[in-house]
């Protein structure tokens, strides 16, 4: 599979995790989208740093072509899936009573 296909698959899987597996439904929550709006500019900056300096180099046959701040557009999907997956599990474990409050470790 190409990077494009894998990026779409990752977003789909993270959405399925959030909506149907652990059912945290972050995708329906204002707190999630606000957090994402804060994270996104930092992600774009970090992606720009890594790609414009050729620290990470992409095979152009594996990407669609459009770039945002020098990074392949697929990177946005990659980052989104990573963030949604982790935040979804974070809320899931909180709901299960694992280290709910910041002043307690368990």
């Amino acid at each position: 599979m190409s990077y494009t296909q894998l990026a779409i698959l990752a977003v789909a899987l993270s959405a399925i995790l959030d909506l149907f597996i652990v059912r945290t439904r972050l995708l329906t929550r204002r707190a999630f989208w606000t957090s994402y709006a804060i994270i996104l500019p930092f992600q774009i900056f970090t992606n720009w740093w890594l790609t414009s300096r050729n620290i990470v180099i992409y095979d152009r046959h594996q990407i669609l072509g459009p770039r945002l701040a020098s990074a392949p557009i697929e990177d946005i999907a990659f980052g989104f899936a990573l963030i949604l997956g982790v935040l979804s599990l974070w809320v899931f474990w909180g709901r299960r009573g694992v280290a709910v409050r910041s002043d307690k470790n368990n």
Binding site: Y3, T24, V86, D103
Partner: protein, 115 residues
């Protein structure tokens, strides 16, 4: 200095987010068990993706801009750190939003009580 190119990006992410732990007291690092449980499964999947992508030449890393310390699957140390640091930064952001907007529902409220 050139070898620090990738690590510089990670240091930036740490600086940009970890102040929330100190000044906004989001208390994410103090919830280590929950942090590990949340990050480990996702990080493992992404490391799997990463190793597949490197193997299939979807992307590669400039060896002059990394520390050239490699872990399993020939993935650079920085890449492993990325999958730990970025998730921590994301969780700190969510917890910071919760601190500033306590009435916004996140979904893990009322633990031990009624749903």
């Amino acid at each position: 200095m050139r070898h620090w190119g990738y690590l510089a990006a990670l240091i930036f992410v740490v600086i940009a987010s970890f102040w929330l732990e100190i000044f906004l007291k989001v208390g994410v690092l103090r919830r280590m068990k929950r942090l590990i449980y949340s990050i480990a499964p996702i990080a493992l999947l992404f490391i799997g993706w990463d190793s597949y992508a490197v193997w299939r030449h979807h992307w590669r890393f400039d060896s002059t801009q990394i520390l050239k310390i490699y872990g399993a699957f020939n993935i650079p140390l920085e890449e492993y750190l990325f999958f730990i640091i970025v998730p921590i930064a994301a969780i700190m952001t969510l917890e910071a939003v919760r601190k500033r907007r306590p009435h916004w529902i996140i979904g893990d409220e009322n633990v031990g009580g009624q749903k």
